[in-house]
Every structure is written in structure tokens, then in C-alpha cells.
């Protein structure tokens, strides 16, 4: 992990290239996070890749309900030589959840991006095959969003067993 100073230096380097690309930084519990502007996410990741963070460990989504912008996409980057990690966080609003794909830079991001689309409804522009990956293809809604109903069935007990869906007569 870069320390707090190293994180600021990295942010400054990226801001030198494009002043709008980095909104802010966050350093908590030895975890360095760059808050990136979603419109410039490919640019940020390309710059980090050039700096040595060549491995995309994980790509996942978050729902920050009720904060706005609600949805977040997190990119966990890793420098395999220096054994150094940095996170990039991009927040997208719910009414326009678009962000550019990073599959051109990291081909392995294809399935994680499909999963984030499946669970949170973030649309990755330019993704080669943006379909649902875990839920059935005709599933409606994005189940990992906080405002999605939990679903489920009432559990059967002896008092309501005659109403059981298991009665096949």
C-alpha cells in the first residue's frame, strides 16, 4: 500500500495529466483509495497501469443508498513487483449509471463487469457482451441494490402445512 503521502503524490501525478480525472483521495486503515471521475476512468487506470499497477485484482460494485451518486464501481489494482495495492472508486448516479468498460486494458474484467451489471445495473459502455451472468436472463431488476426487496418464501410450520406447495395430489 502507498502511505497517505504516496497516495497524494499519485493523485497529483494523475491530476497533472488531467485535472478533472481525480475528485479526491481517501486513506483509511492503510487502504489507499482514489476517487475517480467515471468519465475518465479508463484514463486513470491506464496511467496506473503505466505506473506499475498492472494487475486488476478485483472489480466490484457498491450501492451507497441513500447517498448520491448512489452506485459505486471499485477497481482494486495491484503492483505485482512492488507488492503494492491501490483502489480506484468511481461513483455513478442511479438515473444515468454509465461508465466506460476497461476490458480493452484488462480482458479479465469482462466477467466482473457483467456481474456488476447483473447485480447493480451499472452499464459498461463498450463492453463486448454485456448480459446477465448469475441471475436468469429473464430476471427483472438488480437484486443487490439496497432498495430491491429481499424476496423469499414464508416458512412452513405444522399450523400451515396443509397450504404447502409440496402437496402434489
Amino acid at each position: 500500500m502507498p502511505d497517505a503521502t504516496g497516495l497524494e503524490l499519485t493523485a497529483h501525478e494523475l491530476r497533472d495529466v488531467n485535472a478533472e480525472s481525480i475528485i479526491g483521495t481517501d486513506f483509511q486503515r492503510q487502504r489507499a483509495v482514489l476517487l475517480a471521475e467515471p468519465a475518465h476512468i479508463v484514463e486513470v487506470l491506464t496511467a496506473l497501469h503505466a505506473k506499475g499497477y498492472t494487475f486488476l485484482t478485483s472489480l466490484h460494485g457498491v450501492d451507497y443508498y441513500p447517498e448520491e451518486p448512489r452506485l459505486g464501481v471499485l477497481y482494486e489494482m495491484m503492483d505485482m513487483k512492488a507488492v503494492d495495492r491501490i483502489s480506484v472508486k468511481a461513483r455513478v448516479p442511479l438515473d444515468d449509471p454509465h461508465i466506460a468498460t476497461v476490458t480493452d486494458l484488462f480482458p479479465g474484467a469482462e466477467f466482473p463487469e457483467r456481474e456488476v451489471f447483473d447485480m447493480f445495473g451499472v452499464i459498461f459502455d463498450g463492453h463486448p457482451d454485456l448480459r446477465r451472468i448469475l441471475m436468469p436472463e429473464d430476471f427483472e431488476g438488480f437484486p443487490q441494490r439496497r432498495d430491491y426487496p429481499m424476496g423469499g418464501e414464508p416458512v412452513l410450520f405444522t399450523y400451515n402445512e396443509e397450504k404447502s406447495y409440496g402437496r402434489w395430489q
Binding site: 441471475m135 430476471f139 430491491y148 414464508p154 416458512v155 405444522t158 399450523y159 400451515n160 406447495y165 409440496g166
Partner: protein, 227 residues
Amino acid sequence: MEIKREKLDGPPSDFRARQLTSRDLLRGDLEGEDLERYVEQSIMTTTLEKAVSWSQGNSIYPMTFGLACCAIEMMTIVGARMDIARFGWEAFRASPRQADLLILSGRVSVKMAPVIRRIYDQMLEPKWAISMGACCSSMGVFNNYALVPSDKFMPIDVHVPGCPPRPEALMHGILRLRDKIQGHEPEGWRRRYDAVGTEEVLTPEDGGESIRDGAINVFPGGDTAGA
């Protein structure tokens, strides 16, 4: 050496005598009343249906099919400690066409349910199904949008509770299924102990409105809100 022969009246006491009688029968030397008596002692009558169900219950081929963590417990019953081979159930078949029993060992997701239904349809009659563990009976801890209880899309013969059930519990379920196949289905414990009316409900004195509405930890019929 002198060989002692006994008549076959009553319970045969001498094994050697019976052996010699059998030898006589095979040679064709056994005749008359001795032959009648021998045949009478060697034959058991039953119905064809009973004989067929007896053999069916003792030679089930389960399907090689594991869904989740319950599958680990299911594999254990084939091993030496539980040893399902004692009951003739040990031959797990890799094809549904050859299998008699589907053990649903784990959670069934909405996406997996059509696959399981198809496998079940491919199995040849007679066929049975065991729903193993909480997840595929009542969805257990995963009672949410992603899962479906197995009763909703296929008939289940035996439910084995547990999360996951120990191999002993699955063995018990298997023996109950064997009893069911062989036509002597055991009574439920409520009927056996004359315990009708001991359901887990609150009476009006305890604060429940009626005996049905006061049931603990359940939702009103059809209402899944907050499940």
C-alpha cells in the same frame, strides 16, 4: 464314521442332516412324504408386488448429483463409516437414465431449477427424490430472491432437515424412503405418540388472537414481506 439321520419334523436340529436331505433332493432320491415335507419347509409365499417393492427398496441407484455443502455429507454416506452399501444403495450412477433416486443436496437457485426438473424428468420410473437440508426444503438461510424450494417444481418423497444434515440424518432419511418404497411407511411421531394438537402455537391466553394467528415466527398466509 456313523452318520445320524433325523426326520425333518419341527425345527431341524442337525445341520448335517439337512445337508444330506438336500443332497438327496438334488440326486432325485427324495420321494413321497419326505419330499412333500422338504418342499413345504423351503417355500415362502408372498405377492409379486411385495417381492418387487422389497427388491426395489434394496437396490436403489442414486444419481451422482451434488449441489452445495450438503453434497459433502452425501458423499460421506458412501464411505466406510456410514457405508450405504449395506442397504444396496451404493452404486451412484452418472446418468439420470440409470438412476432411481435424486438426492437434492444443497440450495437450488432459480436458474438451476429447470435443470434439475429436466434431470428428474429424464429419470425412468420408478423414481424417488430426497430433499436434503434446509436450503432446498425451505430455502434455509438463503430465504431470498435467488432460491426456490424444491417442492415447487418437483415431487419430493423425503425431506431431511439440517444445515447440513449429518450423514446419520441422511441415512435415517434413506431408511425412511426404503420403508416407503417397501410399502410400510412409518407413522409420523405425532400419530405414533398420540400427540395431535401439540403444534407450536400461542393460545389466546398467551397473547395470540386465535390458535392459528398466534403461531410463532411465521408470516400470514401468502405474505412474503420481511421474509
